[in-house]
Amino acid sequence: MKKNSVVETLHRAQADKKSHTSLSADAMRDAARDCGAPPSQVYGVATFYTMFSVKPRGKHVIRICRNLACHMDGACKIVDALKKELGVELGGTTADGEFTLEESSCLGMCAAAPAMMIDDKQYGNLTAAGVKEILRRVRKGE
């Protein structure tokens, strides 16, 4: 019969303020206990889905889309602008621990390409200048 879903439990664990948008070994062990699932299954799930991370991430996770529609509308330039502004490569976390820059599959925002998400928020029609302003605001908690 149905137990607590591992996927949902990991979502919650990762949303926890202390966890910093990623899953620690302890968090995964807790999830395994809560779901009655073997730790191997939990680790398997945590490493299968791109929204989960077993490596520490920054306070905010940036997901930039590079699929076809965004690519055609200049996603590469936005990726370059983000890399330059943050001083990290894709997958990297800024030295101050504020941002992790990740690539995402299509976010379903092709009519507003190029697009990205920061945490739960969507940003579309991006320009290289515009992303600087967005990062500044997110940093300030706006």
Binding site: V6, V7, R63, L68, A69, M72, S105, G108, A111
Partner: protein, 533 residues
């Protein structure tokens, strides 16, 4: 397209004869037999205090005031053509412009037939009352008064086919699960919209979440299920919160729960979040994910209708499919069968992107030619450039050339050119785009999203990217095209699930349809999108 005329019933408007104007509008609609196309509702103040009776025409978003009974004929005439009536129009904001005759907004309104999206952008999606006022949950009441097999028969008559991409007949799926004997059955809504270029399901979930819930309850009743799951991709935060709120509101009103509408049918819905995996759009991988596992597809048969979620009979339907159900129950299967084209009945929602003047989501009858989607709805190719190719149905779908775009979008017509409507995604590439570069972008997507379970897909997607990068960098070997053809064939024939089977669709079609461009890429002076080193 469905038009709604909202008549202000504030104190001043009533004093100025709003009731008479409303009656005249209704009479004019009946006289012209437009009852199904134009509806009239009362609303509160529209904020035009001075002018007398005041109406708002949606989705054109034009306000008319002062309106008298004598204006009804002109208003309905304009509305029936999707036009604004300049004589009475009032600006709704500083930036507001009168929709010009022949404008794109007008073409967009005229080309559409908004059935499933009829409420989207018109009602408040977080207010169940507005959905109910618009006739919502009426289909549920009607369905519960029917026998489950009659509900399935109605869906069969409608010839509804799945809107997720495969186009499987919905009634067949339902009948198959209905005949299974089990202590519990499930309805699962596939809202893991992740096919690149596709953003139509979110339009339903964000704009009219109750319609999806109503469709699911009816599906549950038809197959004898007591529980439903809506599996929404984790990135769709707004869709998740809208559906959570909608399910809660439906529960509070007795549309969900132990006694649906006070009767003997019990049904409840839970929202399950995805966590970023394209493969979970495949129904058996989706089921694995709801069960809390890695999203790896299962072997079929048994199909979900026999052994699905927790090995129980399960119907898995796409968001758009389930959202069509209330309309079919309310209007009858024959009504739906009269829409669209042979073998592709009803309307279809398309998400349109790429090199076009207008991008977005539209609902049009099946059978509309691809060229009309590009030129009428998309407003033509951006910058007046020529069209090179259209990616139809997402990046696992079909690649059409300029000479193929006269084809009507329906299963049969598209099958003749070895294509299909797929998810309803349309991505347009203009003449300056490199097909090779687009194919490389798509190949990288599939390499990333392959779940790794079967070798043809795991290794094939990686090999394709490796060879394509070589070609892009001008380092191609002579037999690389042959290798790509062979990889594409092997993957299509031997991959475990549809992801691998379709991953090289666009690649193989481009090798046939744009052979010249591939050849040019293999020799010096390549036209590869300026990416060659």
């Amino acid at each position: 397209m469905k038009t709604t005329i909202l008549v202000s019933h504030d104190r001043r408007a009533m004093a100025a004869g709003a009731a008479a104007a409303e009656a005249a509008l209704r009479a004019e609609i009946s006289k012209r037999g437009l009852d199904k196309d134009i509806s009239v509702s009362a609303t509160g103040s529209l904020g035009y205090e001075a002018g007398g009776a005041c109406v708002l025409v949606m989705p054109l978003a034009v306000v008319y005031t002062p309106v008298t009974a004598a204006d009804a004929a002109d208003i309905i005439e304009a509305a029936s053509k999707g036009r604004a009536l300049e004589r009475l129009a009032k600006p709704v904001s500083k930036s507001w412009k009168m929709p010009a005759s022949g404008s794109h907004a007008e073409k967009l309104a005229a080309a559409q037939q908004r059935v499933i999206l009829g409420n989207a952008g018109v009602i408040d999606p977080e207010n169940i009352g507005e959905y109910v006022s618009a006739g919502g949950y009426g289909a549920l009441a009607k369905a519960l008064a029917m026998k489950p097999e009659e509900v399935i028969a109605e869906i069969k008559t409608s010839e509804l086919r799945g809107r997720g991409g495969a186009g499987f007949p919905t009634a067949t799926k339902w009948a198959s699960a209905a005949q299974e004997k089990a202590d519990i059955k499930y309805v699962v809504c596939n809202a893991d919209e992740g096919e690149p270029g596709t953003f139509k399901d979110r339009e339903i979930m964000e704009g009219d979440p109750h319609k999806l819930i109503e469709g699911m309850i009816i599906a549950g009743y038809a197959i004898g299920a007591s529980k439903g799951y809506i599996y929404i991709r984790g990135e769709y935060a707004l869709s998740i919160s809208r559906l959570e709120k909608a399910a809660e509101a439906a529960r509070a009103k007795g549309f969900l729960g132990e006694k649906v509408l006070g009767g003997n049918f019990a049904f409840d819905i839970e929202i399950a979040r995805g966590a970023g995996a394209y493969i979970c759009g495949e129904e058996s991988a989706l089921i694995e994910s709801i069960e809390g596992k890695r999203g790896e597809p299962r072997r079929k048969p048994p199909y979900p209708a026999q052994k699905g979620l927790w090995q129980k009979p399960t119907v898995v339907n796409n968001v758009e499919t389930l959202a069509a159900v209330p309309h079919i129950i309310l209007n009858g299967g024959l009504w739906h069968k009269a829409l669209g084209a042979e073998g592709a009945r009803g309307t279809k929602i398309f998400s349109i992107a790429g090199d076009l003047n207008w991008k977005g989501v539209v609902e049009i009858p099946f059978g509309t030619p691809v060229s009309a989607i590009i030129n009428e709805i998309g407003g033509g190719v951006k910058g007046g450039r020529k069209l090179k190719a259209v990616i139809l149905g997402g990046v696992s779908g079909s690649l059409l050339t300029d000479s193929e775009i006269a084809t009507p979008v329906d299963f049969n017509s598209l099958a003749k050119i070895e294509a299909g409507p797929g998810s309803g995604a349309v991505i347009v590439l203009d003449e300056t785009r490199s097909v090779v570069e687009a194919v490389l972008n798509i190949a990288r997507f599939f390499k990333h999203e392959s779940c790794g379970r079967c070798t043809p897909c795991r290794a094939g997607t990686a090999q394709i990217v490796r060879i394509l990068e070589k070609i892009r960098d001008g380092k191609a070997a002579e037999d690389d095209i042959t290798k790509l053809e062979s990889l594409a064939r092997v993957m299509a024939q031997t991959s475990f699930c549809p992801l691998g089977q379709t991953a090289a669709n666009i690649l193989s079609q481009s090798l046939k349809k744009f052979a010249g461009e591939w050849e040019a890429c293999l020799c010096a002076g390549c036209a590869c999108g300026g990416n060659k080193k």
